[in-house]
């Protein structure tokens, strides 16, 4: 049969309750397409859990366990220990939002990485606590307005920087860690496969727009996600044992305003306030820093994201 006519393995069914244009729903589907059916999932509390599991329905075609908000990494570690004791060759993947990764779930994550469990931890980074109504997290970008870092006459949104989670993960010297984006699906799938191939812990941070929380049209999710990469604000990089081994070059570097302007969470930065101009300059400086630090400047115009399109896992709607 022609490869193109074979269905991809679908671990997350459509029909769940995610909002239109939800980046995280797409990212989770892509993750499972690449991971295939022989996995166990541990999911932290958050949007993903809520929109996929409302009893008596579930959108998951793979074994799935949601425990609490902060413990996805530890639950996954326990699953892995059990599978190891039973001599089973089944992969374990933990799924969490940025809150469940950068903030409340961080201790369990760090412990799991330090102990070397053979677990892939995937963070769907939508840069705020979306499930509870767009509150700021350690991942919320500087100057973004959220319900707990609102912009107002005295404030330009979040006063602190987005935590550099990958640098912290890198300090654990795990075999593989990477960033990815829903705007680059083949790259994302490739990184999932790579992460599952290595023995030991791996980590993936997937930039996942949230139209509701970021304040952009639901049809713009992919475009916005791509602009985050093309401005240098969200570099796509790969680390092995904490060392940089790959970065996706940006061939046409966009100014950060191209990314910020369509999102209402940054609207206050375009009000002509001198402090707003200062914040914009600050955000541009962060992007410029990333471009230099990771050597992101590319030569040619951006290619299509087709790399790896012929190597997706096949299997279709498998459920035994």
């Amino acid at each position: 049969m022609l490869r193109t006519q074979q269905p991809r393995f679908q671990g997350l069914d459509p029909g769940h309750r995610a909002c239109q244009g939800c980046g995280q729903a797409l990212a989770a589907r892509l993750t499972l397409e690449a991971a295939g059916p022989d996995i166990l999932l541990a999911n932290a509390t958050g949007c993903l859990e809520v929109f996929t599991t409302a009893w008596p329905e579930s959108a998951w075609r793979v074994p799935y366990l949601h425990s609490v908000f902060a413990n996805a990494a530890a639950v996954a570690a326990g699953m892995e220990a059990a599978l190891k004791a039973q001599g089973k060759d089944v992969k374990v993947i933990a799924l969490a939002g940025d809150g469940g990764t950068f903030d409340i779930g961080f201790q369990a994550l760090s412990g799991m990485l330090e102990r070397g469990h053979d677990v892939l931890f995937v963070c769907y980074d939508n840069e705020a606590y979306m499930n509870t109504g767009v509150q700021r997290s350690g991942s919320t970008p500087h100057a973004a307005s959220t319900t707990t870092s609102p912009a107002g006459v005295a404030r330009m949104g979040k006063r602190h920087l987005k935590k550099d989670i990958l640098a912290i993960i890198a300090a654990h010297h795990i075999p593989y860690a990477a960033t990815a984006s829903v705007a680059y699906p083949a790259d994302l799938r490739k990184k999932v496969r790579r992460a599952l191939q290595v023995a030991g812990p791996s980590f993936l941070q997937v930039h996942s727009p949230c139209p509701l929380g970021w304040g952009h049209g639901s049809e713009l999710s992919i475009e916005i996600a791509r602009l985050a990469v093309q401005t240098g604000l969200f570099p796509l990089i790969e680390l092995e044992r904490g060392a940089l081994v790959g970065a996706m070059p940006i061939r046409q570097i966009h100014p950060v305003t191209d990314y910020l302007k369509p999102q209402s969470r940054f609207r206050h930065l375009f009000a002509g306030d001198p402090r707003a101009r200062e914040e914009l300059a600050h955000l541009q400086a962060l992007a410029d820093h990333n471009i230099e630090a990771y050597g992101l400047r590319g030569e040619m115009p951006d290619g299509l994201d087709s790399e790896g399109a012929d190597t997706v896992r096949r299997g279709g709607l498998r459920s035994a």
Partner: protein
């Protein structure tokens, strides 16, 4: 074989005899010796398991939860602050109806920080939906640990085995450790009906809205109540293998002529027995509430029948209310025929020694009206002067 073992070592060996495949724990006094002993058994190849030394009790509970759901028998132990840190996951484990065994080496809860024994920690999570079994001595701790795995797995409910910190965990006692054959004959290999398996994918821990939540909670409540039968069956079957009898719900010592009873949980039971031998006097029935969850209402009514006075001796309190156990005892006896007067005292909080002299003091105290719980061993000399002024 009868041997002298420290309580923690005996519990560790009993756990190993139950062959859990995953053990996860975080150290806290007075639980440390249990997990250290398990770690040593693993290091010496006397016990094969994945021993996961986690970075917190929160993760310890989460690791054993993940392991049990992935199809392995799993075990953890903690105490005090560790139980508090676990509490979110403890509720979660119970609500998910996952079979697990946890030893709680009972200790006071901070502040003031105090590493010594009382039962505030396990009482703080009494509503988590776990079964709770208290042990009066280290033989009971060994036997209960083994029974706990079978009860947990048959009921699909987690079991907390409560042993008094130091008083039991750090005390050398002669006891019988069963053989591997005996335990294998009693405890079949782990099987969990909802184990996660890629060949038959299930979703566990899903979001349950108001349409189904009450039913889910009620079924859980029913399951905990029904666990009484498995607790009784496990005690019976284990006694036919081990040759030792032990009371599944309430241990009763004393003649039916007694009109006064004293009910407690845990190691103070032994102190009271010794004190009664020592002081003699009118017959007194001494009760050890082994099963606190499920709360054995019928067994309690039967055990207290004919008593005019029942003293409930607490090892934990609920500030602003009365003793935790006494409140439940009163409610259980409310509509019994001719229920005894219930007197409520606390003793031994934060490791204060419970001496033999407590026995005559208790019996004397019930002569006076005592409308609310007070610690019988309150020491006015230790009272800050400022408190008197209030």
């Amino acid at each position: 074989m009868r041997q002298a073992l420290e309580g923690s070592q005996a519990i560790a060996r009993a756990v190993a005899l139950c062959r859990p495949q995953v053990v996860a724990a975080y150290p806290i006094t007075p639980q440390t010796h249990i997990v250290e002993n398990i770690a040593k058994l693993v290091a010496d190849a006397q016990f094969q398991c994945e021993f996961v030394s986690v970075e917190s009790e929160f993760s310890a509970a989460s690791v054993v939860l993940g392991a049990a759901c992935a199809g392995s028998r799993a075990y953890t132990a903690s105490a005090s602050q560790g139980i508090m840190l676990m509490s979110e996951v403890l509720y979660n484990i119970a609500g998910l109806r996952v079979p697990l065994v946890l030893t709680c080496a009972n200790r006071a809860v901070s502040a003031p920080i105090n590493i010594w024994n009382d039962q505030q920690d396990s009482m703080a999570v009494r509503d988590a939906g776990w079964l709770q079994l208290y042990c009066a001595d280290n033989q009971e701790a060994v036997d209960t640990t083994i029974q706990a795995f079978r009860i947990a797995e048959r009921c699909e409910l987690p079991v907390m085995v409560c042993v008094d910190g130091f008083t039991l965990t750090h005390t050398l006692e002669p006891l019988e450790l069963p053989s591997q054959e005996a335990v294998d004959a009693f405890l079949p290999p782990y099987a969990f009906s909802r184990a996660l398996d890629p060949r038959a994918p299930l979703s566990l821990g899903t979001l349950v809205g108001p349409d189904y939540f009450t039913e889910s909670r009620y079924l859980h409540h029913q399951a905990v109540l029904a666990a009484e039968n498995e607790i009784i069956a496990a005690a019976r079957d284990w006694s036919s293998i081990s040759g030792r009898t032990s009371a599944p719900l309430i241990r009763i010592d004393g003649s039916d002529e007694a009109t006064v009873g004293i009910l407690t949980l845990g190691s103070v039971f032994g102190t009271l027995l010794d004190a009664r031998d020592h002081y003699g006097g009118a017959p007194v029935k001494i009760l050890h509430l082994r099963a606190f969850r499920p709360f054995p209402v019928e067994a309690l009514r039967a055990a207290t029948k004919g008593l005019s006075d029942l003293i409930v001796l607490e090892r934990a309190i609920s500030p602003g209310a009365d003793g935790i156990v006494a409140a439940e005892v009163r409610s259980a006896l409310m509509d019994a025929d001719a229920p005894p007067r219930v007197h409520n005292f606390a003793a031994g909080l934060g490791g204060r020694d419970v001496p033999l002299t407590i026995y005559p003091r208790l019996l004397e105290a019930i002569g006076k009206p005592q409308p609310r719980m007070i610690p019988i061993d309150l020491d006015r000399d230790q009272w800050p002067a400022a408190a008197d002024a209030q």
